[in-house]
Symmetry: C2
Subunit: 376 residues, 2 copies
Amino acid sequence: GRVLVLNSGSSSVKYRLLEGTERLASGTVERIGEDGSPVPDHRAALESVADRLAGEGLGLDSPELTAIGHRVVHGGTAFTEPTPITDEVVAGIRELVPLAPLHNPANLAGIEVTRRLRPDLPQVAVFDTAFHATIPPAASTYAIDRELAARLGVRRYGFHGTSHAYVSREATRLAGDPDARVIVLHLGNGASASAVSAGRCVDTSMGMTPLEGLVMGTRSGDLDPAAVLYLARTGGMSLDEIDELLNRRSGMLGLCGDNDMRSVTERVEAGDEDAELAVSVYCHRLRKYVGAYYAVLGTVDVIAFTGGVGENSAPIRARALEGLEALGIAVDPARNARGDTVVSPEGSRVKVAVIPTDEEYEIARQTLSVISHHAG
Amino acid sequence: GRVLVLNSGSSSVKYRLLEGTERLASGTVERIGEDGSPVPDHRAALESVADRLAGEGLGLDSPELTAIGHRVVHGGTAFTEPTPITDEVVAGIRELVPLAPLHNPANLAGIEVTRRLRPDLPQVAVFDTAFHATIPPAASTYAIDRELAARLGVRRYGFHGTSHAYVSREATRLAGDPDARVIVLHLGNGASASAVSAGRCVDTSMGMTPLEGLVMGTRSGDLDPAAVLYLARTGGMSLDEIDELLNRRSGMLGLCGDNDMRSVTERVEAGDEDAELAVSVYCHRLRKYVGAYYAVLGTVDVIAFTGGVGENSAPIRARALEGLEALGIAVDPARNARGDTVVSPEGSRVKVAVIPTDEEYEIARQTLSVISHHAG
Ligand SMILES: Nc1ncnc2c1ncn2[C@@H]1O[C@H](COP(=O)(O)OP(=O)(O)O)[C@@H](O)[C@H]1O
Ligand SMILES: Nc1ncnc2c1ncn2[C@@H]1O[C@H](COP(=O)(O)OP(=O)(O)O)[C@@H](O)[C@H]1O
């Protein structure tokens, strides 16, 4: 089957047309709704995608198009699997807007346009949170008032689920054991870790929102929750300013003025102290999560690096796992420098792997599997 | 030397008079400043302490009294060691009030009264944060804007330092190796973990405030920082209400309505599902910190349980460390039930120990050591 995968974000729409693993077309429409942009809204953006595809003879009206798979960020507790889109599903995604005020409305905008353009075509919502639905209550429950938490939906949902699903499946295959225990480190601009046992996610570092957990490009990750109160009361910051600080001016950017890990690691090589501090904080946090998930899983068979940083930065991989020999974890310098699939030494108890993520492929795969399941 | 140890809190003053390890007198004056209480303020509370001691022939004016040691919660970055109290030190502790708005003023109230009563006597401030001053920047730095963090003092300070100092020293002695790697789990109403290598603290779970980290009696511990913003914006709560929620109505109390671990574990035995969830969240968090600090330290020689829960609750000790055999960690059921000093099986690679904390003794010890150092 041929699947159009749409990732409709707040200011851009990314699309990819896939036939199996083959990419027939792909691209991005950017600057939606910005001043002076030729793309005023999501309707215009999606029409531009449709035009581009038609120009390549792959138009939305093509009879060969089997389905459209939409990335949707927040599925809450309602959507724990890829879901064929109906009016009720659209309403359900809208109800979750308070939990993902920037993302879900943009995802919905894409869905609404393509449903108007091709009302007959199966469309599927694939949720970033869904892979984490198997996390047990011990790990998903925050230790706050339960009634209030239930009423407001305050719990660990986790994100990047499509990537964690894809990469942990590949890692499990690499282990040659369906019951393998896997730690996935998805390190891109956003970053998250997950603990996966026999293909099921049992813990993840992002929480109620994508802010919690690892140090990211511009996000703080873990922070004393009372620091937020302190920034408001003693620091005199508004909630919007704190939101902007923690999501856009923190992480590597906040620590050393740069969120491109390539140039940060180059600065470390050149002896830059700010970059060195930033990388040391980044790797310390990673090391803590590796240890924490080792304990959560009881043991580990594969640690899989993915995302722009995880796939490309040998120094970050080496440094994050430095000194963990007592846990059976080691990185072979030559393999790591080459970026081999397996970068741990031959015979290591824990396989350390580099597994490029492919979220669009995974969305297409899940979309087709849901359709054939519902058809059959 | 004879030392009076004072822990002057917001609504109570605890005192203990020590001669070496011998306790000559001790007690608590409670309900300071409360409606209908006979103790209107800290001056009255301290005078009541002085009266009680005088009644036992151990008055503040006794020539045998060598010094007074005051517990002070927040030493910021200025006070990293026990410090003889001068006018400048009092001013320095006052400058830190924004970081500890409830605690430092109460600590200061006690200091000011005893300085008036015995201006000639050496008095020493022993800070809860001091033991954590050795934590390296990789662990003490939050990944937020550095300039803002420096200006407002947003960093990991850590608390319960006197307990972590005392217990980790005992654990290091138990290991028979001055370079031992130790994890201390201080589990009382407040709860915190620390990672100690060769006697130096290298990481701890409490952060800028005592809210971060483990699940506590009434405090949440770790929480997505964006959840605080969400509770304010979507939940419509004020900052004071959120503060009250996270510090007083969360933790075990928020999860199951009870913060007395004894009765919570009894309810678990009886099949109560709320208590079961609360304990599972509590132990999951503990397990994550044990794994994280295992990775931070590279390996572990001793895991030491202390505090009311850590010293007395065999089921919590067993459950927190369940399934960690791959890390060389195990608990022997018979030893654990008896509450032996070492509760791991004979020959275990990691010693699991129960070490009752003694913060007052440690404050007295540090007080005397500072005085003799300054005298000599
Ligand atoms: N060779 C490299 N070395 C270090 N970092 C790299 C390298 N290549 C890409 N990156 C980093 O990957 C990050 C982007 O990751 P990516 O997964 O593409 O992000 P996103 O989360 O937006 O999908 C950037 O910080 C970039 O600097
Ligand atoms: N036998 C026991 N079993 C379980 N918990 C206990 C037991 N004895 C005391 N505790 C718990 O210890 C906690 C108080 O610890 P403590 O260290 O005294 O507190 P604080 O932090 O106030 O100093 C309470 O939750 C109490 O229920």
